[in-house]
């Protein structure tokens, strides 16, 4: 059987050293080895977006990345961006707008939304819908999610102006 490979990476600002099998994907590594269960697994197929995390600043599907590929990388998960306060305003807008029901898609949805808001200061609804089209939500019908992101974008733009 293939032997474990030593990897070293930063996860939510903490140094992590681990020995992992080459076939282990990043989502399972985060969930099962680091117990960061906020990253969810919906399809293991790169389609649903529930496992979205940030690697070296870009959002990726952690079910499509092997843990060994994250060697030397900087990984940020929903737990990290929550604790740092980076998306507190976005989370607040989601709360006020009830932009989540079961909440299973929400960590991935928030990671994707924050990614858009970092790229584009004031995206319109079409752009928001387009950017989130890789994050499935079966509960809300999306409108509340779009509303919450739009509200956050406007508030951030106002703070800057």
């Amino acid at each position: 059987m293939t032997t474990a490979v030593a990897i070293s990476l930063s996860v939510n600002g903490e140094r992590v050293e681990a020995n992992v099998l080459p076939r282990l994907n990043l989502a399972d590594f985060l969930r099962e080895h680091l117990k960061l269960t906020g990253t969810h697994v919906g399809c293991e197929h790169g389609v649903c977006g529930a496992c979205t995390v940030r690697v070296n600043g870009d959002i990726v599907r952690s079910c499509l990345l092997l843990a060994v590929q994250a060697h030397n990388a900087t990984v940020e998960t929903i737990e990290g961006v929550s604790d740092s306060g980076e998306i507190a305003d976005l989370q607040s807008a989601f709360r006020e707008r009830n932009a989540l029901q079961c909440g299973f898609c929400t960590p991935g949805m928030l990671m994707a939304a924050q990614d858009l808001l970092k790229q584009s200061s004031c995206p319109d609804r079409e752009q928001i819908r387009e950017h989130l089209s890789g994050n499935y939500c079966r509960c809300t019908g999306y409108q509340a999610v779009i509303d919450a992101i739009e509200t956050t974008a406007r508030a951030r733009a106002e703070r800057l102006s």
Binding site: M1, L21, R23, R31, L36, T37, G38, T39, H40, V41, G42, C43, E44, H45, V47, C48, A50, T77, I78, E79, S82, D83, Q91, F94, R95, E96, R97, N98, L100, Q101, C102, G103, F104, C105, T106, P107, L110, R125, I128, R129, E130, L132, S133, G134, N135, Y136, C137, R138, C139, T140, G141, Y142, Q143, A144, V145, I146
Partner: protein
């Protein structure tokens, strides 16, 4: 009484500081989910826990001649490989029938197939190992000797004499048939100016909960107790069924339901692989975890719909609808699901067709047949989208035939808002509906005339837009008539216990469950309002059979109407108990006192008398200082079940505005409107979001979602890339309006809202598509409306 939802100018009892009923307030505890700190079953790990992976039949129908697990058992980490026969030692089979669905039959189903697999995906062996990956590795080495059998796949030929019978003991492949005939249908058709017929085809689809089904079963041999952690909508039902088939008492089974990643009716059933997991835990005497992967979800989560329904409508030239007739056929897979059965959807179709309309002439036949496909059962808005699409499709065809506007024909035929209480031809009883008020509001919201003008103008530019209207009725707040009378131990009543703790905060335990609808919020809103306590002091506990009253759970739009009423009544008792003690302490009378903002005040002028925290301190720690004879009871429990009406029907109407690209066959949804009437609205935002989410699930069925089987019973698109669900890019904004007709059966007056969106969305879209395609003289009565379906109808492919 029916009223439109407007802001009241005068202050009412609900405008007190802690009046949350009717107000949009954020759901409690959302931060947990938004920070990734929820606890879904897939997150749970227990000491000594092992993982089960099921080896599933690759064939739709096959004898199992032998299973060789010798190599698999030698693989690293493997704890056991268990066959259906071996598991039979600890769990008994079941039959999914209900006595009130007369004639419904099914065959015994086992947790793991014994001797024969009846659909592609049925479990034939369980592989248990220290990790899921190890179990999957070992599963690849289990060798099963199959003898493939003829598969029954097409429901149209399932009853032919030449077709193989799936369960020989049942005699044929007919699971259930219902016939209904009321009024004078033949005479009505004979007297009609026009009679229109069509066959409506509904694709088989499924719920695609974003978190797959998952269960952790923990048999503690020393306690002789099984704890089941499961994302279920009905914990007490799971408790009852698990105990029954494992030979335990209910008191030996605890069901714990933490966060649930989507349900929609998918997680209200008992699945064979879940039963197998409970049994494996008992057999292996340790916790066993099962999490379906996505392929398994598509192959084993219940499918829904899959109907072919012939419909017929008679109409007079003045628009009067004279009669409806339907002949519905549906295929349910090889077994009727347990314990709710797979005949409910067809039964609902018969119940609901024609429901919004005046005509008393109605004939229906529904037949439910077995097939070698995945099991089919109740999914959100059971039967509603079928009944609504058939009814509203026929109404539009009739209108088209006589040259009448779709709004006008509905105005002339919908039951008048002042005609209630009344009944439907199929025997349903309506307490108070508001079809006309809802339709009038919808027409206004969408600016119908302006849209018609826009449609006409664009047609000249070869842009084909359409408007589709769909009125509907919706089953909510089911009484024992749904399952209990048929012998299923699925409670129709719910209970809430409310108590004041030692610091003046409130803890409620409720038997309804939370899957994101807002059960926790509505319970806290009701209890806070009644008690005069702020919501942040109310904590709601749900989803634990050891720690909540006994009850049904959250399904069939029952949480707010039934669980909400129990919460209201329990809080009223606690309020009285608090005021009695306060009166004794304050040497006043309870009538002179009130509770506002977490404190007891004078009812007359609001003067603060004693904080609830101080009152609680006295009661719990210095009862010696209370006047003699006072026994405070700071905990109260009440239960509720509807008894007067079997179901609290709601109603509504939807409209779709869309554009069809006649070159590519793509449908672009531009806008969607819903007006619905769920009675008293506890939290407007939560109701609107239930509606929107429901609409989008209906839009999925209308445009994208279909489980595509080949003729051998192989599901060919069992993954998220090939099975399409609505994505944010394709979904329109949805405007929601309300008419409010509270049910008088409860003090709260709330009816359900969970099915409404799904009930009418597909009908509105199909009608809009046909409206858009009017210049081409083609009618489509099949969903999903894929480009292929549309281009075929247009004769372009």
């Amino acid at each position: 009484m029916t009223s439109e939802q407007e802001k009241s100018e005068t202050l009412s009892a609900l405008d007190r500081p802690n009046s949350y009923i009717g107000k949009t307030v954020p759901r409690p505890n959302l931060d947990r989910l938004m920070q990734g700190r929820g606890l879904y079953v897939s997150d749970i790990e227990l000491p000594r826990m092992v993982h089960v992976v099921f080896l599933r039949s690759p064939h739709a129908h096959a004898n199992i001649k032998g299973i060789d697990a010798s190599m698999a058992k030698r693989m690293p980490g493997v704890v056991a490989v268990v066959s259906g026969k071996e598991l039979s030692a600890v769990i008994t089979p079941w039959v999914g029938v209900l006595s009130h669905l007369k004639g419904l039959k099914s065959a015994p189903q086992r947790a793991i197939a014994v001797d024969r697999a009846c659909w592609q995906g049925e479990a034939v062996a369980a592989v248990v190992a220290s990790s899921r990956a190890q179990a999957e590795d070992a599963a690849e080495l289990v060798s099963v000797d199959y003898e493939e059998l003829d598969a029954v796949t097409d429901m149209r030929s399932a009853l032919d004499p030449a077709t193989a019978v799936i369960h020989v003991s049942l005699g044929d492949n007919l699971a259930f048939e219902r016939n209904h005939d009321s009024g004078a249908v033949d005479q009505a058709f004979a007297e009609s100016d026009e009679v229109v017929e069509a066959e409506f085809v509904f694709g088989r689809h499924t719920g695609v909960t974003l978190e797959p089904r998952a269960v952790v079963a923990d048999w503690n041999a020393a306690e002789a107790r099984l704890t089941i952690y499961q994302g279920t909508q009905a914990p007490h039902m799971v408790q009852n069924i698990a105990a029954l088939h494992l030979g335990l008492k209910e008191s030996q089974v605890r069901v714990v339901c933490k966060d649930v990643g989507g349900s929609f009716g998918i997680k209200v059933h008992i699945y064979a692989d879940e039963m197998a997991t409970y049994a494996l835990s008992k057999l292996l005497r340790r916790p066993v975890k099962f999490v379906a992967d996505r392929v398994e979800s598509f192959n084993t989560d219940i499918h829904a719909r899959d109907h072919r329904c012939k419909g017929k409508i008679g109409v007079k030239r003045d628009g009067t609808i004279t009669a409806f007739e339907i002949d519905d056929l549906t295929g349910i897979g090889p077994y009727s699901m347990y314990p709710r059965t797979s005949a409910i959807e067809a039964n609902q179709v018969v119940n609901l067709v024609g429901g919004p309309y005046l005509t008393r002439n109605y004939r229906a036949r529904a037949r439910v047949v077995f097939q070698n496909k995945n099991v089919m059962c109740q999914y959100r808005a059971v039967g509603h989208p079928i009944a609504c699409s058939v009814t509203e499709g026929l109404v539009d065809l009739a209108a088209m035939k006589i040259g009448m506007d779709p709004i006008e024909i509905r105005r002339r035929n919908l039951i008048a808002d002042d005609a209630y209480p009344c009944g439907s031809p199929s025997g349903l009883r309506f307490e108070q509906l508001s079809h006309h008020a809802a339709l009038a509001k919808l027409v206004k919201m969408m600016d119908y005339d302006a849209l018609r003008a826009e449609q006409t103008a664009l047609r000249a530019k070869n842009i084909h837009r359409g408007i589709g209207i769909a009125s509907f009725i919706e089953v909510t707040n089911p009484s024992a008539a749904f399952y209990g009378v048929g012998g299923a131990k699925i409670s129709s009543q719910d209970g809430v216990a409310v108590r004041l703790d030692a610091q003046g905060s409130v803890i409620c335990q409720t038997s309804i469950t939370e899957q994101g609808q807002g059960s926790e919020s509505l319970t806290a809103q009701i209890v806070g309002s009644v008690l005069g306590v702020s919501m942040d002091r109310v904590r709601v506990i749900l989803g634990d059979t050891d720690n909540t009253p006994y009850g049904g759970g959250t399904w069939a739009s029952r949480g707010a109407g039934i669980g909400g009423e129990a919460a209201l009544q329990a809080a009223k008792v606690l309020r009285k108990n608090i005021l009695d003690v306060a009166a004794a302490v304050l040497q006043s009378t309870s009538g002179e006192l009130d509770i506002v903002n977490n404190g007891v005040v004078n009812a007359v002028d609001g003067t603060p008398r004693i904080d609830l925290s101080e009152l609680a301190r006295i009661v719990y720690f210095r009862p010696d200082t209370l006047p003699p004879g006072i026994q405070p009871e700071f905990m109260a429990t009440r239960h509720f079940v509807p008894r007067e009406y079997p179901f609290a029907f709601t109603n509504g109407v939807q409209a779709s505005w869309l554009e069809v690209d006649v070159d590519t066959g793509f449908v672009k949804l531009l806008k969607h409107w819903v007006v619905e009437d769920c009675g008293t609205i506890i939290n407007p935002q939560l109701v609107d979001e239930q509606i929107r989410g429901g609409v989008v699930q209906g839009l999925g069925a209308a445009l994208f979602e279909k489980c595509v089987y080949d003729e051998r019973g192989q599901l060919t698109n069992a993954n998220m890339a090939d099975y399409l669900v609505p994505m944010s890019g394709e979904m329109p904004d949805i405007d929601v309006g309300h008419v409010v007709s509270p049910t008088l059966e409860t003090e709260l007056g709330a009816k359900g809202a969970g099915e409404a969106g799904t009930a009418g969305a597909a009908a509105a879209v199909t009608n809009a598509t046909n409206d858009a395609l009017r210049p081409f003289g083609t009618i489509i009565t099949e969903i999903p409306l894929t480009p292929q379906v549309i281009l075929t109808a247009l004769g372009r492919i």
